[in-house]
């Protein structure tokens, strides 16, 4: 259901881009960011310690007025690792890890100021985590609801730099090798956002 809605939104955006009509609305934006994710474990001796990954994050939003935007995002890791502690509480094992996030979000932002623009967003995503043990892989899927706050700096009429965006996501199901105490992902993003269409 989510995938279909996302696809429709993005195709609509695409149609609008290529429309030769004078109707410039809706205005929309695309973004490309680097994203660092952390899924902390319960810690302590003999336990999963932390999963961390670095993702490419891409997204597109239809802007509704100056303050609201609705869109979709896709985030996929290009590196990542699982860390475990041994029973004497020192980090002892590291495995390769992957993280995929895809979902929809709603962004609320301040007005187009001269330089800085603050925003917050809520999102719903499908999440996939993989731990690669060479001989076998562990994988899990979950849904996640999250929120983030950020600030971007205007570089030109259309281009913004997301200086920092901090977010948190709550997983609906536990990652079985991580444990039930660890169902929150925190993330930080930096990147660029490009506005397309009529400036409102």
């Amino acid at each position: 259901m989510m995938k279909r809605a996302t696809t429709i939104i993005i195709l609509l955006v695409g149609v609008c881009i290529n429309s030769r009509a004078q109707l410039r609305l809706p205005t929309f934006d695309i973004e490309l960011k680097g994203q660092q994710n952390l899924l902390p474990g319960s810690g302590g001796s003999g336990n999963f310690d932390v999963f961390e990954s670095t993702n490419w994050h891409g997204g597109a939003h239809i802007q509704i007025g100056q303050h609201f935007a609705v869109g979709a995002f896709y985030s996929r890791s290009f590196r990542g690792s699982d860390h475990y502690r041994d029973d004497n509480n020192s980090t002892s094992a590291t495995k390769d890890g992957l993280l995929l996030l895809k979902g929809i979000d709603i962004r609320v932002s301040t007005s187009r100021a001269k330089n800085w623009r603050k925003y917050m967003a809520i999102n719903y995503s499908k999440l996939e985590v993989v731990e690669d043990n060479v001989d076998y892989r562990l994988a899990a899927k979950s849904n996640a609801i999250g929120a983030s706050v950020g600030i971007m700096r205007k570089l030109s009429n259309k281009l913004y730099l997301t200086v920092i965006e901090l977010g948190v996501k709550k997983l609906s199901t536990e990652i079985f090798w991580v444990g039930s105490n660890s169902q929150v992902i925190v993330d930080a993003k930096m990147g660029l956002l490009y506005n397309i269409g009529k400036r409102k």
Partner: protein
């Protein structure tokens, strides 16, 4: 320029749309704990690391039965090594055959040199599938010794081990070990022994965790919790990392303890490699590692090996 930007944007969005339909999960991935628990030990290697950080890695030969269970082990020669068998005299290649019951549980672990059994371990289980009896037989320090351990459980965890021992020079008094757990994280805290002195002159009275230095082969030592004899200066550290019930690595070493007596070797015990196929095996594994170390080596003092040598057993699991 505007058209170029629009075209580029459309291209990006098409890529994004395609990307959304992608997944990183493959059909062959293990996606739940049940499937994960079915992973079997495929191989293991023994890495002996001296105090200079030099490694000697020895692969252990393994063969499997039709159910994918470890059936036969071909051991390397451990002559002069830090790690070895508790058995006194081994002159030829050593193999192990493992027998399972109809429930897939290990019932016999027989370590042999040729056709001669060096050490034989017989496992029995209660109705819950927990190991409740372990008979260890072998020729240790020149004596044929048979040890029978009856294991009791409380709240699903091993709580008491009642031991009777017979040797070629007579029987020892029964010993009772009470296993106590750390209230914070549930890890093994102490193995209390009653009586406190055995009738063969053994004087140790208690095995407990303390706080000391881990065998990290570095000049700066990590703090960890080694197991030691109460009142004594000898310590054995056991570290292991794991996912679920699967150990990735088991690391054995002494604490940095210049004034203490140095164990010469660490003795192999089957629970070192059977942790994943025996319920609640972690406290039992720790107990027997300490027990085997203590029985043979701790009381006889050090030999040619360096105090801070470390033995690391690396395990590989697979489908």
């Amino acid at each position: 320029m505007v058209r170029l930007v629009r075209s580029a944007s459309l291209f990006l969005l098409v890529l994004l749309t395609l990307g959304i339909s992608c997944t990183i999960v493959e059909d062959t991935d293990i996606q739940n704990l049940d499937a994960f628990s079915k992973l079997k030990l495929k191989s293991f290697e023994i890495n002996q690391i001296n105090q200079n950080g030099e490694s000697k890695v020895t692969k252990v030969g393994t063969t499997f039965n039709g159910d994918g269970q470890l059936q036969q082990i071909s051991w390397p020669l451990f002559n002069g090594d830090k790690f070895g068998f508790r058995s006194s005299t081994i002159t030829g290649p050593v193999t192990t055959s493992i027998t399972y019951n109809s429930s897939g549980k290990v019932i016999v672990f027989d370590i042999k040199s040729g056709n001669t059994s060096l050490e034989k371990y017989t496992f029995e289980y209660n109705a819950e599938g927990n190991l409740n009896k372990l008979i260890s037989e072998g020729t240790f320090s020149g004596n044929v010794i048979s040890t029978t351990d009856l294991i009791e459980y409380s709240s699903g965890k091993p709580s008491k081990i009642n031991r009777t021992t017979t040797t070629t020079v007579g029987s020892n008094a029964a010993i009772e070990y009470n296993i106590m757990y750390n209230s914070n994280d549930g890890s093994v805290f102490t193995f209390g022994m009653t009586p406190t002195t055995t009738n063969d002159g053994t004087t140790y009275e208690y095995i407990q965790t303390g706080v000391g230095d881990c065998p990290d082969n570095n000049s700066s030592h990590m703090t960890c919790n080694p197991y030691q004899l109460a009142g004594g200066s000898n310590q054995l550290t056991i570290r292991h990392s794991y996912t679920g019930d699967k150990i990735a690595a088991l690391i054995i070493g002494e604490s940095y303890n210049p004034g203490g007596k140095t164990p010469d070797k660490y003795s192999f015990h089957p629970l070192m490699i059977l942790r994943s196929v025996i319920n609640q095996s972690e406290p039992l594994m720790i107990f027997y590692m300490i027990d085997w170390w203590t029985v043979k080596y701790q009381l006889t003092g050090g030999g040619g090996n360096t105090q801070r040598d470390v033995v690391q057993i690396n395990f590989t699991f697979g489908i």
